[in-house]
């Protein structure tokens, strides 16, 4: 008995140390600084409300949430369809296709932003093609559309891999049973495949949402004109030196992302962990 208890304590102590010293303290500090003195000399919890009352912060929050929701929705549709298809079909070139679809995983946000500029920037491919076709110069890299494109680029591979992982484990007998009962291919997808993948969708979608909420590198590379929340926090912190406001905004951003992840974990169970 002794050796087992000793063993458990040896494992527990580092975990507890790490948690308190490292994970909780910074978060609690953030919380306090958010309510502490700002450069205006004022202290108070009003800063947390400012996210809702001050036009600039509110619009940044709203546009960040909307952008993240849109990215999540489109990613789930594209990643979900491709994932199910790739998991359930074997064909020549499948390996290469999967490799191509997943290599954005290797590129950091800065590089993704960079790619978006090359694709949709002023001297980008789309601009050149649109001019060559005699139209207007089509430029959307530096807007929300560019950000949307960039976020899709790094979100789809994650969703694709998660969905593929679950779809490959899907019991083929379920589909055969549904077919024997007269269900055509669309009914099989609707009644059997989608419900089976729902937890994976919830998990992948929540991670995708949280990642989009906090993505910074891409936004920063594309330009400072886009007021998404991580950019605003950065500006408050470095340009305005308003540490308190930056802290309050960080807490609110963390809160929203955390809520989504927690909701997903409630519904999707442990698969969120696997996708984390």
């Amino acid at each position: 008995m002794k050796s087992r208890r000793l063993f458990a304590i040896t494992c527990l102590v580092p975990a507890v140390l790490v948690v308190t010293a490292f994970f909780v303290i910074p978060a609690v500090m953030l919380l306090f600084i958010g309510a502490g003195k700002g450069p205006d000399g004022e202290a108070g919890l009003w800063r947390y409300l400012a996210v809702l009352t001050t036009e600039r912060y509110r619009s940044a929050m709203v546009s960040t949430v909307i952008l993240s929701l849109l990215v999540t929705a489109v990613t789930l549709v594209i990643g979900g369809i491709s994932g199910v298809f790739l998991a359930r079909n074997r064909f020549a070139g499948r390996g290469i296709l999967v490799a191509c679809l997943t290599f954005p995983l290797a590129f950091p946000g800065v590089v993704v932003g960079f790619m978006v500029i090359m694709l949709a920037g002023r001297l980008g491919l789309i601009a050149s093609i649109s001019v060559a076709l005699g139209g207007d110069r089509l430029v959307f890299a530096y807007s929300m559309a560019g950000l949307f494109l960039g976020y899709l680029y790094f979100s789809i591979p994650r969703v694709l891999l998660t969905v593929m992982g679950v779809a490959e484990k899907l019991d083929g007998r379920l589909i055969e049973a549904a077919r024997s009962l007269g269900a055509g291919p669309w009914a099989v997808q609707r009644d059997i495949v989608l419900p089976a993948l729902a937890p994976a969708f919830v998990a992948a979608g929540s991670i995708c949402f949280a990642t989009s909420m906090g993505a910074f590198g891409t936004a920063f590379t594309l330009a400072t004109r886009i007021d998404v929340l991580p950019m605003v926090i950065y500006q408050e912190f470095t340009e305005s030196a308003n540490i308190a406001m930056a802290a309050a905004l960080s807490v609110m951003l963390g809160l929203v992302a955390w809520l989504i992840l927690a909701l997903a974990r409630l519904n999707g169970g442990s698969s969120v962990a696997a996708a984390g």
Partner: protein
């Protein structure tokens, strides 16, 4: 309830990508309302055969499959109207018991009122009314089996296909459900194809049994035919315990290590050597001085309703005998072996010897 259809397979074969021939060209006719059992070891082609009839696999070109004369060789499974019960049951985890049973009716766009009525009918038929609203993961193995069966029967299929539906259950439950299943299949009168590797199941359920081996049919017949008149050593050993004995024929008797067996009435020609089969339960143990065939007991195993006795010295291999549970036997005893009249079966010579 449903009369079912007759099924005819003509030259149906299946070769998988890679050249493995899972089923050699096979002809087979199943009568309307018959319960036909495919029996064989794993990899013998029995499941492939079932899946071809179901439409889950497409046969090689040139074969044809028909239901009541209608060619369905290239019809997709969803248009064949067949009921399937899988070994793993394959119940939809996102639906309740009633929704599972009603799914085939819902897909067929049958009105909700009629659908409810037929689901209730099925629940009653399978004795699971109380489970109607349960989730699948709250069911025991036996309950799942009943739901799977109800779901397959609910669509009033032309053929009911059962792929080892009892294998996942433990012995006692398997035996009980086997009885229930037998009664249900008989009361429905539906044409059924049943796949199993369990000979007791095949015997109890099948009007006819198709014993399969290495992608081909080894023997077709009623359970008693298969058990008492096996066409080969493989069938003899697969459908029950069998003592297969080889010896020399002299003076109308088969001479073995421990004595001789009279061959009268087995219709043997003038072969010099012979292979015969004796079932363990057809050999009586008698006093050695009254016997012409003797051996010594090397193992006794009490099985409850009977005993399993291994006798050495009687033949080249040990002979297994299964006497009743009332006999007192001890290891080392010398015993006489007395086969019941007509229990000796001559096994035709063949090239294979498994």
């Amino acid at each position: 309830m449903t009369a079912g259809v007759s099924i005819e397979l003509k030259g149906i074969a299946k070769t998988y990508a890679g050249g493995v021939q899972a089923l050699k060209p096979t002809d087979l006719a199943v009568a309307r309302g018959e319960t036909l059992v495919f029996l064989g070891p794993s990899g013998c082609g029995k499941t492939t055969c079932l899946r071809l009839i179901a439409g889950l696999e497409m046969p090689d070109p040139n074969g044809s499959l028909s239901f009541d004369g209608e060619d369905v060789t290239r019809t997709e499974i969803e248009d064949r109207n067949v009921g399937m019960v899988f070994q793993s049951y394959a119940l939809f985890p996102n639906m309740s018991v009633a929704e599972n049973i009603g799914y085939g009716l819902k897909v067929r766009k049958i009105a909700p009122a009629e659908r409810d009525r037929r689901v209730r009918e099925m629940l009653a038929l399978c004795g699971i009314e109380a489970l109607s609203e349960r989730a699948i993961d709250q069911l025991s193995g036996g309950q799942r089996q009943r739901v799977a069966l109800a779901r397959a029967v609910a669509i009033r299929p032309r053929v009911l296909l059962l792929d080892e539906p009892l294998t996942a259950l433990d012995a006692a439950l398997r035996e009980r459900l086997r009885g229930e299943l037998d009664q249900l299949l008989r009361s429905l009168g539906i044409t059924s194809i049943y796949v199993t590797h369990d000979q007791a199941e095949a015997m109890a359920l099948g009007d006819r049994i198709v014993v399969m081996r290495q992608g081909a049919i080894a023997q077709i017949g009623a359970p008693r035919d298969i058990y008492f008149r096996p066409a080969s050593r493989f069938v003899a050993e697969f459908v029950g315990a069998a003592n297969v004995l080889s010896g020399e024929v002299r003076d109308g008797s088969l001479h073995l290590e421990g004595g001789k067996l009279a061959l009268a009435g087995t219709g043997v020609g003038h072969d010099r050597s012979l292979m015969v089969m004796l079932r363990p339960e057809s050999i009586r143990l008698i006093a050695p001085d009254q016997a012409v065939w003797r051996g010594r007991i090397s193992a006794v195993s009490f099985l409850g309703d009977r005993q399993r006795v291994t006798v050495t010295g009687a033949a080249a291999q040990p002979v297994t005998v299964e006497p009743g549970n009332d006999l007192e036997l001890a290891i080392g005893d010398l015993v006489g072996l007395d086969p019941a009249p007509g229990s000796l079966v001559v096994i035709p010579k063949e090239t294979d010897s498994a």
